[in-house]
Subunit: 234 residues, 2 copies
């Protein structure tokens, strides 16, 4: 809590650290469907012990700043994104996760419908790139843990919420919708059964128009709710 925060205790006085307190950071695992795969956005560290290695964009939380705001700010600074879906995941506090200092990091997951919306990397990082979640390079700090955690959370939330709305454009065909699920869950879905359950739960609403392509035109759908809803089952 915060009940004993005012006076430093013996513990906060005891170390050789310049400031005998852990620091607070946020790191964001940004997901998008790109190229028919589930991908995350990594940045290349310019300095620090992980220099040259890849990591999720993040940084220190400022005094007076909300955690969500810090995550939003860091995400915008490194990708230009605004208004992405954002959700706190888990807080990683192992003092050895950063060899320089004890940094407690609050991990976030962000979702966007279009990977192309990220703009080129900022001055803070050397580079920025999308990677398939199944083929990540070696990551700095404990970011592999974060990646694993984020993927797990995304998978599970796909099954009991309408979170997919944050990964799809406003209008989409049912095939695209189904592909998203199949892709992230990593298993094939029976088109007919899947359609039945999704439509039964009223997660989507059918739009009056269709999309024309090389074959039979596909009905377009959009989400009944553009904010997170919990649903019965899949």
């Amino acid at each position: 809590m915060a009940g004993t925060a005012a006076r430093p205790t013996e513990a906060t006085r005891s170390t050789g650290e310049k400031l005998a307190r852990p620091m607070v950071a946020v790191d964001t695992v940004l997901f998008a469907i790109n190229d028919g795969r589930l991908q995350t956005y990594l940045v290349e560290l310019r300095r620090g012990p992980g220099r040259g290695r890849w990591a999720f964009p993040g940084g220190l939380v400022r005094v007076g700043e909300l955690l969500d705001d810090a995550a939003r700010r860091e995400l915008q600074d490194s990708t230009g994104l605004r208004g992405a879906y954002l959700e706190q995941l888990f807080t990683f506090g192992d003092p050895s996760r950063d060899p320089r200092a004890h940094v407690v990091s609050v991990a976030y997951m962000a979702l966007i419908p279009d990977a192309q919306a990220v703009s080129a990397s900022c001055e803070k990082y050397a580079n920025g790139k999308w990677y398939e979640v199944t083929r990540l390079p070696q990551l700095a700090y404990d970011h592999s843990l974060m990646a694993a955690y984020a993927v797990k959370r995304l998978k599970s939330k796909l099954e009991y919420t309408n979170i997919a709305y944050a990964l799809l454009p406003r209008e989409f065909t049912f095939a695209e919708f189904e592909e998203l699920y199949s892709l992230i869950l990593g298993r094939p879905l029976d088109r007919r059964n899947f359609r039945r359950s999704i439509l039964a739960m009223g997660m989507l609403k059918r739009l009056p128009h269709t999309r024309r392509g090389p074959h039979r035109p596909a009905a377009l759908y959009s989400f009944a709710n553009q904010s997170l809803r919990f649903i019965e089952m899949l």
Copy 2:
């Protein structure tokens, strides 16, 4: 992340705070079944802006300390408990949650099978007491939020894990097991259907002996796994 932690940025230099960084604390919502109710353990704050009010036991994380260890330490200091089930819940970082300073608090949930196992409050707090989760007094800081979050998590995890093992003694009757579920979920359960699904999923193992009472003796059960397992469904 931690990638930019080494040098203070303009933000960390800018405020009037003695240390221009948020502090890190842990707070633990301790649950037990007591008196036929789901209760949590509250401590009365001795000092600070919430003086005289009730809160969950917690305190600052020390440099070099794991978050889990900090939660364990604070819990032990204020209740004498060791070895309770412990799980990280969520991190609360609103800078206004503590009027004195920006304290980011990592909330934990702890479970024990016997409320009597907590020993009298330590010097840190004026008092310690079990409260029904449905009848909490006004809490300090944002601890009502934590309480709500913890209850929600406990309810939901009861439905898809064997987490109940942490709230029950080693041996118990099926009636006790069922009462736990009914209590926490807040709805009556059909004895026969509930038994069927629980036994079908192999969550419990039946012990050879029974417990004798004023009526028909009840078979005793214990958990097949004394560590957290995820299960199909309830």
